[in-house]
Amino acid sequence: MNGAGIIKGLVETARNFAGSYHDRERLTTVQYPEETLPPVENARTLPFLVYDGGDAMAGLRCTACMICEKECPPQCIYIIKDQARKPDYMGKMQLQPKVFDIDMSVCMSCGICVEVCPFDAIKMDQVFELSTDDRFAGLLFDNEKLARPNEYFRQLHKTEASEVDARREEEKRKAAAKAAAKPPLPGGVK
């Protein structure tokens, strides 16, 4: 019968319409500003810099090795090295960035800076409400604006942060053991 297919289709539409009132499977819309979805652990938006301790600039893990600046596909990272050095978590003297800028309007959230960073200094944030009316200076983030404590990183990416913390603890312990073993006792037995 001509028209039977249309009627069959309309039954389907009616089922979906009625179902959208009581079935979450059929209505997946979330009324965004009023309600939000729970955060996803692996989600990534834009990078931030991790620091340890209370002082953001003194505890910055970044050693200005320039790897992320070189590897960043859209070239949105800009680093200038500081001549002054500071000790890192293993007591080794490391360089630090004088300037660390990320142009957030250029960043494409690929996460390659995180993958290549050998110091676990840069990680991906999950913020997404960043709209501003100043698209040049307002989206050029410097190191003070980028710095976040390690606790923040733990909060966002629990699994990854616990792995990183365990690895750093292990390295710290090894470095301390090595440092303890290194200076030979004056006049001691060989």
């Binding site: 539409t13 652990e41 390659i112």
Partner: protein, 381 residues
């Protein structure tokens, strides 16, 4: 004998008759982005049609020649932004051929699972868009997008991004599946056939859809083969060519699935092929999610940074949801490719647009374009 009124001669006769030239796009909502068709019309009939593209050109190939090998991986996401994971796969395959890196078995299975999920997303969305072009405003597209959301949730919990996944690496994948992911994926794959049944009840028997698609935009198998058309469009014309079967890349050799073929090569066949391919993808998904082994996900010899392949060339190709997606790389031993070329399926499938549209009405030309399944990010690069 009085002079009688005689109607003016119509076009197609010997008399000169002006044709109406219509420029469809680049802002027209049915041209899937920034695509333009210059159509010459005789009444409503298309007598000439020129596809115009390049409005979304972003210099992808040249940027990739300046980037490191790793650096162009996130750019491949932006080629066909509906199916970023298959783009990743094609590029990773080309670099793996160039460097001779082997991929661990678990990573191969993950790639197959993600590739088939991507195919589900693409095909359900393209059917929705096709119906949108026919005037079914919204309903089928919204149903398709509702199901797509569930798969995007899987992508987000695994790769961190819903669309720009940047997940595959040379010699494996970036990170392992989070706990419980396989169970979630099984749940999505188990519910998807119900959606497909509903989708078919809504569409396949619909008389309007049949009237608008059957016999419209016929592509003969000879022309399809000569023009290099690949993917569902080629198979809708009845040519049995699926790179998953021909090359059996990844672990597709172990998967049991069939390749659906069309008979007439019209728009209805192209619609139906996509529905049937989704059903075959679900079969592959079931097998891959059942058989996925434990083990490493990245080759231990894989280098993330400072990849310098030996001088040589390689062509890696996969059966993307839209057709044969190929990456051709020439290395001169440096840190970036000497030449990087993408073979985009949408662009090459688009070249037969005029042949399919000639003699059809302008309203059908829009439907035919919808059945080609283009994404302008890939056409223009």
């Amino acid at each position: 004998m009085s002079a009688r009124f005689s109607p003016p001669e119509l076009a197609g006769t010997d008399f000169e008759h002006p044709l109406l030239e219509v420029s469809l796009g680049p802002h027209h909502p049915s041209t899937h982005g920034v695509f333009r068709m210059d159509a010459a019309l005789d009444g409503e009939t298309v007598v000439k049609l020129k596809p115009v593209f390049g409005y979304l050109h972003r210099n992808h190939e040249k940027i990739a020649e300046k980037c490191s090998y790793l650096g162009s991986m996130p750019f491949t996401d932006r080629l066909d932004y509906m199916c970023s994971l298959t783009n990743n796969w094609g590029y990773a395959l080309a670099v793996e051929k160039l460097t001779g890196l082997a991929v661990p078995e678990r990573a191969e299975y993950i790639r197959v699972i993600l590739g088939e999920l991507t195919r589900l997303i693409n095909h359900s969305a393209v059917v929705g868009f096709l119906l949108q072009d026919m005037g079914a405003m919204g309903t089928p597209l919204m149903y398709a997008f509702r199901e797509r959301e569930k798969i995007l949730d899987l992508f987000e919990s695994l790769t961190g991004a819903r669309m720009m996944c940047n997940y595959m690496r040379f010699g494996g994948c970036r990170c392992d599946l989070p706990p419980g992911w396989i169970g979630q994926a099984r749940g999505v794959a188990a519910k998807f056939p119900l959606f497909l049944d509903e989708f078919e009840a809504l569409l396949t028997g619909n008389e309007i859809l049949k009237a608008r698609t059957e016999g419209v935009g016929v592509l003969t198998p000879e022309l399809a083969v000569n023009a290099g058309v690949t993917g569902p469009m080629l198979r809708a014309s009845g040519v049995n060519y699926d790179i998953r079967k021909v090359d059996a890349y990844g672990v597709y050799g172990r998967m049991d699935f069939r390749v659906p073929l069309g008979e007439r090569g019209d728009v209805f066949d192209r619609y139906m092929i996509r529905i049937l391919e989704m059903r075959e993808s679900l079969k592959i998904l079931d097998q891959a999610l059942r058989d996925i082994p434990d083990g490493p996900i990245l080759n231990l010899n894989a280098k993330l940074r400072n990849l310098r392949p030996k001088p040589g060339e390689a062509y890696g190709r996969i059966e993307g949801p839209k057709g044969e997606l190929g990456f051709y790389l020439i290395s001169d031993g440096g840190p970036n490719p000497y030449r990087y070329r993408v073979r985009p399926p949408s662009l090459i499938n688009l070249t037969v647009l005029e042949d399919m549209c000639l003699g059809q009405t302008i309203a059908d030309a829009v439907v035919i374009l919808g059945s080609v399944d283009i994404v302008l990010g890939e056409v223009d690069r």
